[in-house]
Symmetry: C2
Subunit: 233 residues, 2 copies
Amino acid sequence: MLPSLRPDLNEHLYLRDPQATELGRRLLAESVRLLDEIGFEAFTFRKLATALGSTEASLYRYFENKHRLLTYLVSWHWAWLRFRVRFALHNVADPRQRLRLALGAVCEASTDDPATPDFDEAALFRVVMAEASKAYLTKEVDADNQAGLFREYKRLVADLVTVVQAVNPAYAHPYALASTLLESARKQLFFAQHLPSLTDGPDQVGAFLEHLAMAALAAPAACPPAPASSVAG
Amino acid sequence: MLPSLRPDLNEHLYLRDPQATELGRRLLAESVRLLDEIGFEAFTFRKLATALGSTEASLYRYFENKHRLLTYLVSWHWAWLRFRVRFALHNVADPRQRLRLALGAVCEASTDDPATPDFDEAALFRVVMAEASKAYLTKEVDADNQAGLFREYKRLVADLVTVVQAVNPAYAHPYALASTLLESARKQLFFAQHLPSLTDGPDQVGAFLEHLAMAALAAPAACPPAPASSVAG
DNA sequence: TAAAAATGATAGTATTACTTTCATTGACAG
DNA sequence: CTGTCAATGAAAGTAATACTATCATTTTTA
């Protein structure tokens, strides 16, 4: 029912809409499970077909290749996360509180939503954490971008930019800050799990991001009581 | 001559030390060129062998697979960058100035160093920008970490942590901040080139990071003169 | 109930990611 | 000067990957 559960993803992401058929929906659910289990590199359409009791040929009718499928799933996650952010911010007026809530939503996205029984958001979040950047870190990034494959991600960042700018309209780097907060959230959670010496503990990520964002937006040029300087012309 | 040009990389990164032989060195130089040209996904040992006038079998005697080769090249870059950071900080005492210089080195790392004629640092930087995270975003990350394959990256982050802590020893998230600054530097440069709507312009990255770091380290809890609030419990 | 769409079954191709074996080359040690 | 040994090359082979094509069958829907 909720529009977020069936986001209209860019049609270049797929050959045939996977949300429109039974096999398509099973494909999506099972691919999340399998990607979470064995990772993107070991993931093949053959293995997915076997797990589904289907065939490679059938799956290739939905997605050109596994990279497109990954991009689709990741886009789905961004659309879903964007909905959660908007929901969390609903009827909250205070800009700082809005930023706080938005960052909370970005970090807490690892919990499963019982409203979508056949779609494991927690597993998808783990997949996004480990694989999302592979969607754009390719030689085809410009062509894919041209085709609109990263629309959902850009929308989410654009929403965060709005939240950031509401706190401090004069801040010079709202886009960089928004995308950094979003990227950093996932990366720090990944580091906490796998390379803990690169972070300060898994429970700290939310606090870190909040402090970082607030500090950046609080300081017109430099925060502490320093001699007058002219950075913002 | 400089130790940084022949860093002692973890021996699990390779089967036979590529720096020790002529073919090995050509392998490294050519793989940077080829990776830069066609990207990691399209890169194969067969293509590399052809480009070198050698054979697959010969190359497989140096590296287990292309993923290890990538990890080696990326580690080389981190070791090199760490040296540049240390060099830039040499004989500078002021903590804030040190942080500024460190961030400058991290961002300016895209320029080629004429001291290493057969190693194109600028090309390697582009490769690192696009492919570095693929070194650890795999299902083998824990085993690879155990084997010490990410030592150079951790060392660089540890150095940055020291610089960060010198500015504000009480700051609560020095590791998260250091790794975020480093990751963000490359990601923002990548975005500026390929997904410009996620950033604020290619020339802004240095200023963004500097402001971000300084702001985060300036604020004990919350920076602006606001009514008393309890964030740090 | 006929047409259209979706799926399955089967097969095939080019490429990838290696491994194996053996011959050749060059360096260096005695 | 010769024997040895490490490095390389040449050639071949294998299992898997990443698809594509064809055609029959089932399911949907108009």
